[in-house]
Protein backbone atom coordinates (compact mmCIF):
# COMPACT_ATOMS: atom_id res chain seq x y z
CA UNK A 1 0.00 0.00 0.00
CA UNK A 2 1.41 3.35 -1.01
CA UNK A 3 1.67 6.06 1.68
CA UNK A 4 -1.21 8.47 1.79
CA UNK A 5 0.87 11.32 0.52
CA UNK A 6 2.54 9.32 -2.27
CA UNK A 7 2.40 10.85 -5.75
CA UNK A 8 -0.57 9.55 -7.69
CA UNK A 9 -0.67 8.49 -11.34
CA UNK A 10 -2.49 10.64 -13.80
CA UNK A 11 -5.65 9.18 -15.34
CA UNK A 12 -3.61 8.81 -18.54
CA UNK A 13 -0.02 8.70 -17.44
CA UNK A 14 2.01 6.90 -20.14
CA UNK A 15 1.80 4.43 -23.01
CA UNK A 16 3.57 1.13 -23.49
CA UNK A 17 4.37 0.43 -27.14
CA UNK A 18 4.50 -3.11 -28.49
CA UNK A 19 4.92 -3.22 -32.25
CA UNK A 20 1.92 -1.43 -33.72
CA UNK A 21 -0.01 -1.75 -30.47
CA UNK A 22 -0.32 1.03 -27.95
CA UNK A 23 -1.14 -0.07 -24.42
CA UNK A 24 -2.23 2.86 -22.27
CA UNK A 25 -0.94 2.98 -18.73
CA UNK A 26 -2.69 5.08 -16.12
CA UNK A 27 -5.45 5.31 -13.55
CA UNK A 28 -8.47 5.37 -15.76
CA UNK A 29 -9.66 3.35 -18.79
CA UNK A 30 -6.21 1.86 -19.32
CA UNK A 31 -4.93 -1.55 -20.42
CA UNK A 32 -2.83 -1.45 -17.28
CA UNK A 33 -4.65 0.28 -14.45
CA UNK A 34 -2.57 1.66 -11.65
CA UNK A 35 -4.98 1.65 -8.77
CA UNK A 36 -5.43 4.35 -6.22
CA UNK A 37 -7.53 4.28 -3.08
CA UNK A 38 -8.76 7.69 -4.00
CA UNK A 39 -11.74 7.25 -6.31
CA UNK A 40 -11.89 10.89 -7.04
CA UNK A 41 -10.80 11.22 -10.70
CA UNK A 42 -10.03 14.85 -10.25
CA UNK A 43 -7.20 15.25 -12.77
CA UNK A 44 -5.93 18.61 -11.50
CA UNK A 45 -5.09 17.00 -8.14
CA UNK A 46 -2.29 14.87 -9.65
CA UNK A 47 0.82 15.85 -7.77
CA UNK A 48 3.93 17.16 -9.45
CA UNK A 49 7.00 15.07 -8.62
CA UNK A 50 10.66 15.41 -9.53
CA UNK A 51 12.93 12.44 -10.18
CA UNK A 52 15.75 12.06 -7.67
CA UNK A 53 18.97 13.32 -9.20
CA UNK A 54 21.93 11.02 -9.89
CA UNK A 55 22.60 7.89 -11.91
CA UNK A 56 20.96 4.71 -10.71
CA UNK A 57 22.46 1.47 -12.04
CA UNK A 58 20.07 -1.34 -12.95
CA UNK A 59 19.39 -3.42 -9.83
CA UNK A 60 21.35 -6.67 -9.78
CA UNK A 61 19.75 -10.10 -9.60
CA UNK A 62 21.39 -13.37 -8.60
CA UNK A 63 22.01 -16.28 -10.98
CA UNK A 64 19.73 -19.11 -9.88
CA UNK A 65 19.41 -22.81 -10.65
CA UNK A 66 16.02 -24.34 -9.87
CA UNK A 67 15.38 -28.06 -9.90
CA UNK A 68 12.26 -28.66 -11.95
CA UNK A 69 12.43 -32.43 -12.37
CA UNK A 70 14.01 -35.32 -10.50
CA UNK A 71 13.76 -37.23 -7.24
CA UNK A 72 13.16 -35.25 -4.07
CA UNK A 73 11.69 -31.87 -3.41
CA UNK A 74 12.19 -29.08 -5.97
CA UNK A 75 14.77 -26.65 -4.72
CA UNK A 76 16.35 -23.37 -5.69
CA UNK A 77 20.07 -22.71 -5.53
CA UNK A 78 21.49 -19.21 -5.67
CA UNK A 79 24.81 -19.38 -7.54
CA UNK A 80 26.92 -17.22 -5.27
CA UNK A 81 30.33 -18.90 -5.66
CA UNK A 82 32.94 -18.83 -8.40
CA UNK A 83 32.92 -22.61 -8.77
CA UNK A 84 30.00 -24.86 -7.82
CA UNK A 85 30.54 -28.60 -7.80
CA UNK A 86 27.70 -30.97 -8.73
CA UNK A 87 27.67 -34.72 -8.16
CA UNK A 88 26.74 -37.70 -6.02
CA UNK A 89 29.66 -37.46 -3.59
CA UNK A 90 29.17 -35.75 -0.25
CA UNK A 91 31.68 -32.99 -0.95
CA UNK A 92 29.64 -31.41 -3.76
CA UNK A 93 27.93 -28.03 -3.41
CA UNK A 94 24.88 -29.43 -5.17
CA UNK A 95 24.58 -33.06 -4.14
CA UNK A 96 22.41 -35.29 -6.28
CA UNK A 97 21.95 -38.66 -4.64
CA UNK A 98 21.00 -40.74 -7.64
CA UNK A 99 22.60 -43.63 -9.53
CA UNK A 100 22.52 -41.73 -12.81
CA UNK A 101 24.82 -39.09 -11.39
CA UNK A 102 28.61 -39.59 -11.17
CA UNK A 103 30.41 -38.88 -7.92
CA UNK A 104 31.95 -35.73 -9.40
CA UNK A 105 29.67 -35.09 -12.34
CA UNK A 106 29.86 -31.46 -13.36
CA UNK A 107 30.70 -27.99 -12.21
CA UNK A 108 29.46 -24.49 -12.77
CA UNK A 109 32.17 -21.89 -13.30
CA UNK A 110 31.63 -18.15 -13.23
CA UNK A 111 33.63 -16.33 -15.91
CA UNK A 112 33.03 -12.61 -16.47
CA UNK A 113 29.79 -12.95 -14.50
CA UNK A 114 28.46 -15.65 -16.79
CA UNK A 115 28.10 -19.26 -15.70
CA UNK A 116 29.40 -22.14 -17.76
CA UNK A 117 28.43 -25.72 -16.98
CA UNK A 118 31.22 -28.23 -17.58
CA UNK A 119 31.12 -32.02 -17.74
CA UNK A 120 33.77 -33.65 -15.56
CA UNK A 121 34.01 -36.78 -17.71
CA UNK A 122 30.85 -38.12 -16.11
CA UNK A 123 29.37 -41.44 -17.13
CA UNK A 124 26.07 -40.08 -18.40
CA UNK A 125 27.11 -36.61 -19.48
CA UNK A 126 25.27 -33.31 -19.24
CA UNK A 127 22.59 -31.98 -21.54
CA UNK A 128 21.63 -28.40 -22.21
CA UNK A 129 18.20 -28.03 -23.80
CA UNK A 130 18.39 -31.66 -24.89
CA UNK A 131 21.85 -31.51 -26.50
CA UNK A 132 24.74 -33.37 -24.91
CA UNK A 133 27.55 -30.90 -24.39
CA UNK A 134 31.01 -30.99 -22.92
CA UNK A 135 30.44 -27.44 -21.70
CA UNK A 136 28.07 -24.56 -22.36
CA UNK A 137 27.77 -20.96 -21.31
CA UNK A 138 24.28 -20.77 -19.85
CA UNK A 139 21.57 -18.37 -20.88
CA UNK A 140 18.31 -17.44 -19.23
CA UNK A 141 15.74 -20.21 -19.55
CA UNK A 142 18.21 -22.98 -20.35
CA UNK A 143 17.43 -26.44 -19.02
CA UNK A 144 20.38 -28.44 -17.72
CA UNK A 145 19.93 -32.19 -17.35
CA UNK A 146 22.20 -34.20 -15.07
CA UNK A 147 21.14 -37.80 -14.65
CA UNK A 148 17.42 -37.81 -13.87
CA UNK A 149 17.50 -34.22 -12.68
CA UNK A 150 16.54 -31.21 -14.75
CA UNK A 151 17.43 -27.70 -13.64
CA UNK A 152 16.13 -24.42 -15.02
CA UNK A 153 18.70 -21.65 -15.16
CA UNK A 154 17.78 -18.06 -14.45
CA UNK A 155 20.46 -15.67 -15.57
CA UNK A 156 21.39 -12.92 -13.18
CA UNK A 157 21.89 -9.28 -13.94
Amino acid sequence: MAPKDAPRPSPKHADLLKGDQTLPLGKKASAFVIESKDDDWDEPRTQVTKPKPGFKPTPTRAHVLTRVEGPGEPNRVVLDKEVIAIGRALNNDIRLDNEGVSRNHARLVRIDDEFTVEDLDSRNGIYVNGLQVHAATLRDGDEVQIGDFIFAYQEGL
Binding site: T116, D119, D121, R123, G125, G130
Partner: protein, 302 residues
Protein backbone atom coordinates in the same frame (compact mmCIF):
# COMPACT_ATOMS: atom_id res chain seq x y z
CA UNK B 1 41.58 -39.15 -27.42
CA UNK B 2 38.67 -37.01 -28.32
CA UNK B 3 38.72 -33.64 -29.96
CA UNK B 4 36.62 -30.69 -28.89
CA UNK B 5 34.61 -28.21 -30.93
CA UNK B 6 33.64 -24.82 -29.57
CA UNK B 7 31.40 -22.29 -31.28
CA UNK B 8 32.62 -18.70 -30.96
CA UNK B 9 30.61 -17.12 -33.78
CA UNK B 10 27.54 -18.56 -35.47
CA UNK B 11 25.93 -15.52 -37.12
CA UNK B 12 26.00 -14.90 -40.85
CA UNK B 13 26.78 -11.75 -42.78
CA UNK B 14 27.01 -9.15 -40.00
CA UNK B 15 27.29 -9.12 -36.20
CA UNK B 16 23.92 -8.90 -34.49
CA UNK B 17 24.27 -7.94 -30.84
CA UNK B 18 21.09 -7.49 -28.83
CA UNK B 19 18.52 -9.20 -26.71
CA UNK B 20 16.83 -10.97 -29.65
CA UNK B 21 19.97 -12.94 -30.48
CA UNK B 22 21.48 -13.34 -27.03
CA UNK B 23 20.96 -17.09 -26.69
CA UNK B 24 22.47 -18.23 -30.02
CA UNK B 25 24.80 -15.26 -30.17
CA UNK B 26 25.50 -12.40 -32.56
CA UNK B 27 29.17 -12.89 -33.44
CA UNK B 28 30.12 -13.80 -36.99
CA UNK B 29 31.80 -17.05 -38.01
CA UNK B 30 34.46 -18.66 -35.85
CA UNK B 31 34.79 -22.26 -34.69
CA UNK B 32 37.59 -23.74 -32.60
CA UNK B 33 38.58 -27.39 -32.99
CA UNK B 34 41.24 -28.64 -30.60
CA UNK B 35 42.94 -31.71 -29.24
CA UNK B 36 45.48 -31.83 -26.47
CA UNK B 37 48.15 -31.35 -29.15
CA UNK B 38 46.78 -28.81 -31.63
CA UNK B 39 44.50 -25.80 -31.93
CA UNK B 40 42.66 -25.22 -35.18
CA UNK B 41 40.46 -22.20 -35.89
CA UNK B 42 37.97 -22.04 -38.71
CA UNK B 43 37.20 -18.51 -39.89
CA UNK B 44 38.04 -15.24 -38.19
CA UNK B 45 34.69 -13.47 -37.87
CA UNK B 46 34.01 -11.40 -34.77
CA UNK B 47 33.78 -14.54 -32.66
CA UNK B 48 37.57 -14.88 -32.82
CA UNK B 49 37.90 -11.87 -30.49
CA UNK B 50 36.32 -13.85 -27.65
CA UNK B 51 38.49 -16.85 -28.48
CA UNK B 52 41.48 -14.52 -28.15
CA UNK B 53 40.25 -13.32 -24.75
CA UNK B 54 40.00 -16.94 -23.61
CA UNK B 55 43.48 -17.80 -24.91
CA UNK B 56 44.94 -14.70 -23.25
CA UNK B 57 43.62 -15.64 -19.79
CA UNK B 58 46.50 -18.04 -19.34
CA UNK B 59 48.79 -17.86 -22.36
CA UNK B 60 51.27 -20.75 -22.22
CA UNK B 61 54.83 -19.45 -21.74
CA UNK B 62 56.07 -21.53 -24.64
CA UNK B 63 53.49 -19.88 -26.90
CA UNK B 64 50.52 -21.02 -28.90
CA UNK B 65 50.45 -22.31 -32.45
CA UNK B 66 47.15 -21.50 -34.14
CA UNK B 67 46.25 -23.17 -37.41
CA UNK B 68 43.85 -20.75 -39.10
CA UNK B 69 41.63 -21.98 -41.93
CA UNK B 70 39.43 -19.51 -43.81
CA UNK B 71 36.45 -20.69 -45.80
CA UNK B 72 36.80 -17.50 -47.86
CA UNK B 73 37.75 -13.90 -47.17
CA UNK B 74 34.34 -12.22 -47.07
CA UNK B 75 34.00 -9.69 -44.24
CA UNK B 76 32.06 -11.85 -41.83
CA UNK B 77 34.85 -14.44 -41.97
CA UNK B 78 37.87 -12.15 -41.41
CA UNK B 79 36.65 -9.04 -39.60
CA UNK B 80 37.48 -10.24 -36.09
CA UNK B 81 41.17 -10.85 -36.76
CA UNK B 82 42.42 -7.31 -35.94
CA UNK B 83 40.93 -7.79 -32.45
CA UNK B 84 42.47 -11.23 -31.88
CA UNK B 85 44.65 -10.69 -28.80
CA UNK B 86 47.16 -13.53 -29.33
CA UNK B 87 48.16 -11.94 -32.67
CA UNK B 88 49.79 -9.20 -30.59
CA UNK B 89 52.01 -11.62 -28.62
CA UNK B 90 55.50 -12.51 -29.84
CA UNK B 91 55.04 -16.02 -28.43
CA UNK B 92 52.14 -16.79 -30.79
CA UNK B 93 52.56 -18.52 -34.11
CA UNK B 94 49.71 -18.34 -36.61
CA UNK B 95 49.64 -20.37 -39.80
CA UNK B 96 47.06 -19.22 -42.36
CA UNK B 97 46.19 -21.91 -44.87
CA UNK B 98 45.58 -20.90 -48.48
CA UNK B 99 44.83 -22.78 -51.68
CA UNK B 100 48.03 -23.65 -53.54
CA UNK B 101 49.15 -20.73 -55.69
CA UNK B 102 46.37 -18.47 -54.38
CA UNK B 103 47.42 -16.30 -51.41
CA UNK B 104 44.13 -14.33 -51.54
CA UNK B 105 43.05 -15.38 -48.03
CA UNK B 106 46.29 -14.20 -46.48
CA UNK B 107 46.37 -10.99 -48.52
CA UNK B 108 42.84 -9.95 -47.63
CA UNK B 109 43.26 -10.93 -43.97
CA UNK B 110 46.29 -8.66 -43.78
CA UNK B 111 44.92 -6.03 -46.17
CA UNK B 112 42.05 -5.17 -43.83
CA UNK B 113 44.69 -3.86 -41.41
CA UNK B 114 45.97 -1.07 -43.62
CA UNK B 115 45.84 2.35 -41.96
CA UNK B 116 42.73 3.35 -43.87
CA UNK B 117 40.73 0.66 -42.06
CA UNK B 118 42.47 0.07 -38.73
CA UNK B 119 45.02 1.90 -36.55
CA UNK B 120 47.39 -1.08 -36.18
CA UNK B 121 49.12 -2.37 -39.28
CA UNK B 122 49.37 -6.08 -39.96
CA UNK B 123 53.15 -5.75 -40.12
CA UNK B 124 53.16 -4.37 -36.56
CA UNK B 125 51.61 -7.53 -35.09
CA UNK B 126 54.18 -9.32 -32.94
CA UNK B 127 53.04 -12.88 -33.63
CA UNK B 128 54.83 -14.96 -36.23
CA UNK B 129 52.18 -15.07 -38.93
CA UNK B 130 52.84 -17.14 -42.01
CA UNK B 131 50.92 -18.78 -44.78
CA UNK B 132 50.95 -22.34 -45.92
CA UNK B 133 49.45 -23.83 -49.05
CA UNK B 134 47.29 -26.86 -49.34
CA UNK B 135 49.23 -29.46 -51.28
CA UNK B 136 46.50 -31.23 -53.13
CA UNK B 137 43.41 -31.45 -51.00
CA UNK B 138 44.86 -32.17 -47.57
CA UNK B 139 47.20 -30.77 -44.97
CA UNK B 140 48.44 -31.98 -41.59
CA UNK B 141 47.92 -29.63 -38.67
CA UNK B 142 49.21 -31.13 -35.44
CA UNK B 143 47.46 -34.45 -34.97
CA UNK B 144 44.67 -33.45 -37.39
CA UNK B 145 44.39 -33.98 -41.12
CA UNK B 146 42.34 -31.28 -42.84
CA UNK B 147 40.98 -31.78 -46.34
CA UNK B 148 39.15 -29.17 -48.34
CA UNK B 149 36.39 -29.23 -50.90
CA UNK B 150 34.91 -26.61 -53.17
CA UNK B 151 31.55 -24.98 -52.50
CA UNK B 152 29.19 -22.75 -54.49
CA UNK B 153 29.36 -19.15 -53.27
CA UNK B 154 29.87 -15.77 -54.96
CA UNK B 155 33.66 -15.43 -55.16
CA UNK B 156 34.05 -19.07 -54.12
CA UNK B 157 34.40 -20.77 -50.74
CA UNK B 158 35.82 -24.00 -49.43
CA UNK B 159 34.58 -26.49 -46.87
CA UNK B 160 36.83 -28.53 -44.62
CA UNK B 161 36.86 -32.17 -43.56
CA UNK B 162 38.73 -32.36 -40.26
CA UNK B 163 39.92 -35.83 -39.29
CA UNK B 164 41.26 -36.78 -35.90
CA UNK B 165 41.97 -40.31 -34.72
CA UNK B 166 38.94 -41.88 -36.33
CA UNK B 167 36.48 -39.05 -35.78
CA UNK B 168 35.48 -36.48 -38.38
CA UNK B 169 34.14 -32.93 -38.20
CA UNK B 170 32.97 -31.01 -41.26
CA UNK B 171 33.03 -27.22 -41.41
CA UNK B 172 31.02 -26.15 -44.43
CA UNK B 173 29.76 -22.61 -44.42
CA UNK B 174 28.73 -20.23 -47.19
CA UNK B 175 27.62 -22.91 -49.58
CA UNK B 176 24.54 -22.51 -51.77
CA UNK B 177 23.83 -26.18 -52.26
CA UNK B 178 20.40 -25.37 -53.68
CA UNK B 179 22.02 -24.16 -56.91
CA UNK B 180 23.64 -27.58 -57.32
CA UNK B 181 20.56 -29.78 -56.89
CA UNK B 182 20.01 -32.49 -59.47
CA UNK B 183 16.37 -31.46 -59.90
CA UNK B 184 15.57 -27.96 -58.72
CA UNK B 185 12.02 -28.13 -60.09
CA UNK B 186 11.25 -31.15 -57.94
CA UNK B 187 12.68 -29.43 -54.87
CA UNK B 188 10.25 -26.59 -55.52
CA UNK B 189 7.20 -28.68 -56.41
CA UNK B 190 7.65 -31.36 -53.76
CA UNK B 191 9.63 -29.68 -50.99
CA UNK B 192 9.13 -32.54 -48.51
CA UNK B 193 10.94 -35.06 -50.70
CA UNK B 194 14.62 -35.86 -50.22
CA UNK B 195 16.60 -33.60 -52.55
CA UNK B 196 19.30 -34.78 -54.92
CA UNK B 197 22.33 -33.02 -53.49
CA UNK B 198 25.73 -33.11 -55.27
CA UNK B 199 27.50 -36.45 -54.90
CA UNK B 200 30.87 -34.78 -54.37
CA UNK B 201 29.53 -33.00 -51.26
CA UNK B 202 28.02 -36.23 -49.92
CA UNK B 203 31.39 -37.94 -50.43
CA UNK B 204 33.26 -35.09 -48.74
CA UNK B 205 30.98 -35.29 -45.68
CA UNK B 206 30.42 -39.04 -45.55
CA UNK B 207 30.17 -40.65 -42.11
CA UNK B 208 31.13 -37.46 -40.28
CA UNK B 209 30.46 -37.41 -36.55
CA UNK B 210 29.53 -33.75 -36.78
CA UNK B 211 28.70 -31.46 -39.69
CA UNK B 212 28.74 -27.74 -39.02
CA UNK B 213 26.94 -26.25 -41.99
CA UNK B 214 25.59 -22.98 -43.30
CA UNK B 215 21.80 -23.13 -42.95
CA UNK B 216 20.90 -19.49 -43.27
CA UNK B 217 17.46 -19.52 -44.89
CA UNK B 218 14.08 -21.07 -44.36
CA UNK B 219 12.23 -22.46 -47.36
CA UNK B 220 10.01 -19.37 -47.36
CA UNK B 221 12.95 -16.97 -47.44
CA UNK B 222 15.08 -18.68 -50.04
CA UNK B 223 12.93 -17.79 -53.04
CA UNK B 224 13.87 -14.13 -52.77
CA UNK B 225 17.55 -14.81 -51.97
CA UNK B 226 18.61 -17.12 -54.78
CA UNK B 227 22.22 -16.48 -55.74
CA UNK B 228 23.14 -14.84 -52.43
CA UNK B 229 25.41 -17.77 -51.60
CA UNK B 230 23.50 -19.58 -48.83
CA UNK B 231 21.23 -22.61 -48.78
CA UNK B 232 17.87 -23.58 -47.46
CA UNK B 233 18.39 -25.17 -44.06
CA UNK B 234 16.14 -28.01 -45.23
CA UNK B 235 18.52 -28.85 -48.07
CA UNK B 236 21.42 -29.06 -45.61
CA UNK B 237 19.42 -31.65 -43.63
CA UNK B 238 19.09 -33.74 -46.78
CA UNK B 239 22.81 -33.48 -47.47
CA UNK B 240 23.76 -34.49 -43.91
CA UNK B 241 21.25 -37.36 -43.95
CA UNK B 242 22.61 -38.69 -47.25
CA UNK B 243 26.17 -38.39 -45.89
CA UNK B 244 24.99 -40.50 -42.92
CA UNK B 245 26.42 -38.04 -40.45
CA UNK B 246 25.78 -38.33 -36.71
CA UNK B 247 25.05 -34.70 -35.89
CA UNK B 248 24.26 -31.56 -37.84
CA UNK B 249 24.92 -28.14 -36.33
CA UNK B 250 23.03 -25.48 -38.26
CA UNK B 251 25.07 -22.29 -38.35
CA UNK B 252 25.53 -18.96 -40.17
CA UNK B 253 22.19 -17.89 -38.72
CA UNK B 254 20.53 -15.08 -40.65
CA UNK B 255 21.06 -11.65 -39.05
CA UNK B 256 17.30 -11.03 -39.29
CA UNK B 257 16.54 -14.15 -37.26
CA UNK B 258 15.79 -13.83 -33.56
CA UNK B 259 16.50 -16.69 -31.18
CA UNK B 260 12.86 -17.75 -31.54
CA UNK B 261 13.17 -17.76 -35.33
CA UNK B 262 16.28 -19.91 -35.05
CA UNK B 263 14.47 -22.28 -32.68
CA UNK B 264 11.72 -22.66 -35.29
CA UNK B 265 14.24 -23.34 -38.04
CA UNK B 266 15.97 -25.99 -35.95
CA UNK B 267 12.65 -27.60 -35.00
CA UNK B 268 11.59 -27.82 -38.65
CA UNK B 269 14.95 -29.28 -39.65
CA UNK B 270 14.86 -31.89 -36.87
CA UNK B 271 11.35 -32.89 -38.01
CA UNK B 272 12.60 -33.18 -41.60
CA UNK B 273 15.42 -35.52 -40.55
CA UNK B 274 12.87 -37.68 -38.72
CA UNK B 275 10.57 -37.69 -41.74
CA UNK B 276 13.48 -39.01 -43.79
CA UNK B 277 13.88 -41.78 -41.16
CA UNK B 278 17.40 -40.50 -40.56
CA UNK B 279 19.16 -40.89 -37.20
CA UNK B 280 20.74 -37.48 -37.71
CA UNK B 281 20.66 -35.26 -34.62
CA UNK B 282 19.97 -31.66 -35.65
CA UNK B 283 20.64 -28.65 -33.45
CA UNK B 284 21.44 -24.98 -33.76
CA UNK B 285 25.06 -23.93 -33.31
CA UNK B 286 25.26 -21.57 -30.38
CA UNK B 287 28.06 -19.46 -28.98
CA UNK B 288 29.71 -20.86 -25.88
CA UNK B 289 28.78 -24.49 -26.53
CA UNK B 290 31.60 -27.03 -26.47
CA UNK B 291 31.09 -30.49 -27.94
CA UNK B 292 33.24 -33.52 -27.41
CA UNK B 293 33.68 -35.46 -30.63
CA UNK B 294 34.83 -39.02 -30.16
CA UNK B 295 34.49 -42.30 -32.01
CA UNK B 296 32.69 -43.58 -28.95
CA UNK B 297 30.58 -41.14 -26.97
CA UNK B 298 29.39 -43.39 -24.18
CA UNK B 299 32.10 -43.70 -21.62
CA UNK B 300 32.82 -46.57 -19.28
CA UNK B 301 31.68 -46.42 -15.70
CA UNK B 302 33.86 -44.17 -13.62
Amino acid sequence: MACFVRFWGVRGSIPTPGSKTRRYGGNTACVEVRSDKALLVFDAGTGIRELGVELMRKPPPQGTHIHLFLSHPHWDHIQGFPFFGPAYLATTKITVYCPEGDPKNYQLLSGQMSNAYFPVRFSDLKAQIGQESFHGDGVEAGDFVVRRFQQRHPGGSVGFRIEHEGSTVIYATDSEIDLQLADQQQAHAQPQKMRGVPKELVTAMRDANLIIADAQYTDQEYGSRIGWGHPRASTVVDLAAQAQAGQLALTHHDPMHSDRDTDEKVTECAARALAHRSKLEVFGAREGVVLKVATQNIRDTK
